[in-house]
């Protein structure tokens, strides 16, 4: 087991996956539910798949409806992220994660952002509010 960091639960669950950083905000509706690939041209993750990743992003964007639908479709297809670490969670994003039972945390320790390399495996225990680099 590697280093452990604290975080704060939004939606519960215990999951692991590779860390994927996005400097841009995420709109789940602009991720193809069939492939998990970001289809938003201007996005830093354009053309990449978020499937099974621990997705680390600043905040959600887009309307009050489409986040939920995007997350729901990814859930149905099984192509969604394993877990999510968000800096600023608005209610639309948080409620969607809660209703569709997609593990999500905020308030990750600042050290996590400094230490964690892109692509490293991590365990996210939202229930306990813990993030462990593997």
């Amino acid at each position: 087991m590697g280093k452990t960091y604290t975080c704060h639960k939004i939606a519960g669950g215990r999951v692991s996956g590779e860390i994927m950083f996005s400097k841009d905000p995420i709109c789940f509706y602009l991720i193809d539910p069939k492939t998990g690939i970001v289809i938003e041209k201007e996005h830093c993750l354009y053309g990449q798949s978020i499937t099974g990743k621990i997705l680390v992003f600043p905040y959600g964007k887009a309307s009050s409806v489409v986040q939920a639908d995007g997350m729901y479709q990814l859930k149905l297809s099984g192509m969604g992220p394993a877990g999510m670490i968000v800096a600023n969670a608005d209610t639309t994003l948080a409620a969607s994660a809660i209703i569709f039972e997609s593990p999500m945390v905020n308030k990750a320790e600042p050290a996590f952002y400094e230490d964690a390399p892109q692509g490293m495996k991590a365990l996210l225990d939202a229930e306990k509010g813990e993030l462990i680099l593997l």
């Binding site: 938003e40 309307s63 009050s64 409806v65 209610t91």
Partner: protein, 399 residues
């Protein structure tokens, strides 16, 4: 979190599993935001969408016997009556829209099918606590009226409509409503279209923050609709202030609640122009024009009527609006003028609905970046231009 006896009874399932689910979702949200307790809401608006997730959740609540305590107004889906005259609807699309209608009707929603409830039917007063979803609505009620709502999702707003409460956190607290970034608008802001570009650009420059605008004077209601819709689509901004105009910002000091702005940015005309160039498809031949994202006001309908009067449109032109505005347009003769020119006014309809399949693969023109944004999933291209220019283009078939 502390709960009242009634809230505890809801959580325990005494009011049925639907109400229990609604309260559980709100309790989880409250926990996520460290809310101390729930507070009553007096108005709600649900961004009904007729999408899979929306229907799944609404039917789950219906099956659990839930009904709304604070009846919400709802967002548009599409008018099957109007579209029977325009196109051939696919049976599964018509079936799903009718199922959504049935589910929300059973829940006790007020079926307004309109995304500008803040202009008609659900207008709050200053300081009132609300649960509003819909990206153009939340910034409008928060910023223009000074009512208080978090940036609710369709589902969390529906949960509040059912239970009558929302967790006490975020924009419901005065201290969280203070501006943090000062935005100097150096651009001239000559028409409502400039506010579309301003709204789309600002989140890119300031991220997740409450902007305070200086340099904007007397924006129209349409300008404010556009500004809010784009701020909350291009980014995630559900509250802003305009110094000397919005009710919590009579002065710069009041807007920032005495604090120093964390950041100051300037917006120039050149940046607004560059934003438009980035968002818009290149000009050339167009196949249709589409307006009403958010729903057009009667003044916007009148503007289009004025431009097409006694003329023939080269391509089909569609305007989405509320049933109230459509009826008014009929009464006032605007509808007749637009219909004779070859245009169509549809009620209760959103552009992000399957009724528009006949336009997929085509190139349209619109005045709204939000209208163009969601079509990335639908294979539609849009030129984005000011209203009058785009109507002229629809008359010629080319921009």
């Amino acid at each position: 979190m502390k709960f009242t006896a009634e809230e505890q009874a809801m959580l325990a399932g005494d009011y049925g599993t639907g109400t229990q689910l609604a309260m559980k979702v709100l309790a989880a949200i409250g926990e996520a935001y460290d809310a101390p307790y729930m507070v009553p809401v007096t108005r709600t608006h649900v961004a009904l969408s007729n999408q899979e997730a929306d229907l799944w959740f609404a039917e789950k609540l219906v099956a659990g016997g839930a009904t709304c305590k604070i009846r919400p107004t709802v967002n548009p889906s599409f008018s099957w009556d109007n579209f029977h005259e325009i196109t051939t609807l696919e049976p599964e699309d018509e079936a799903i829209v009718k199922r959504t209608h049935a589910a929300y009707t059973k829940l006790g929603a007020i079926m307004t099918y309109n995304c500008t409830p803040y202009l008609e039917r659900n207008v709050p007063r200053f300081g009132e606590i609300l649960s509003f979803s819909e990206s153009s609505a939340t910034p409008f009620v928060n910023s223009v009226y000074g009512a208080r709502s978090n940036r609710e999702s369709a589902q969390s707003a529906l949960c509040s409509a059912i239970t009558g409460v929302t967790p006490y956190y975020g924009f419901l607290l005065k201290e969280n409503r203070a501006g943090n970034v000062l935005v100097h608008v150096d651009a001239a802001m000559q028409d409502d279209f400039d506010y579309q570009m301003l709204g789309y650009l600002v989140p890119r420059k300031i991220g997740f923050a409450v902007p305070v605008f200086e340099g904007i004077t007397n924006p129209s209601k349409e300008a404010l609709m556009n500004l809010g819709a784009q701020l909350n689509t291009g980014g995630n901004i559900a509250l802003y202030h305009i110094v000397g105009f919005t009710p919590e910002a009579s002065t710069r000091e009041e807007a920032f609640q005495g604090k120093t702005p964390a950041q100051q940015v300037h917006i120039t005309q050149a940046e607004l122009t560059a934003m438009r160039e980035e968002l818009s498809a290149p000009g050339g031949k167009i196949d249709f024009a589409l307006y009403g994202c958010p729903h057009f006001t009667i003044d916007q309908v009148a503007a289009v009527a004025g431009l097409v009067k006694n003329k023939k449109l080269a391509v089909p032109l569609f305007i989405m609006t509320s049933s109230l505005t459509r009826t008014l347009a009929q009464k006032m003769g605007y509808m007749d003028i637009i219909t004779r020119a070859g245009g169509t006014i549809v009620e209760d309809t959103c552009m992000d609905q399957p009724c528009w399949k006949f336009l997929y693969g085509k190139k349209g023109i619109t005045d709204s970046p939000k209208c163009a944004y969601y079509t990335k999933r639908r294979d539609m291209q849009f030129v984005i231009a000011p209203l009058a220019d785009s109507v002229q283009a629809a008359l010629k078939g080319v921009y």
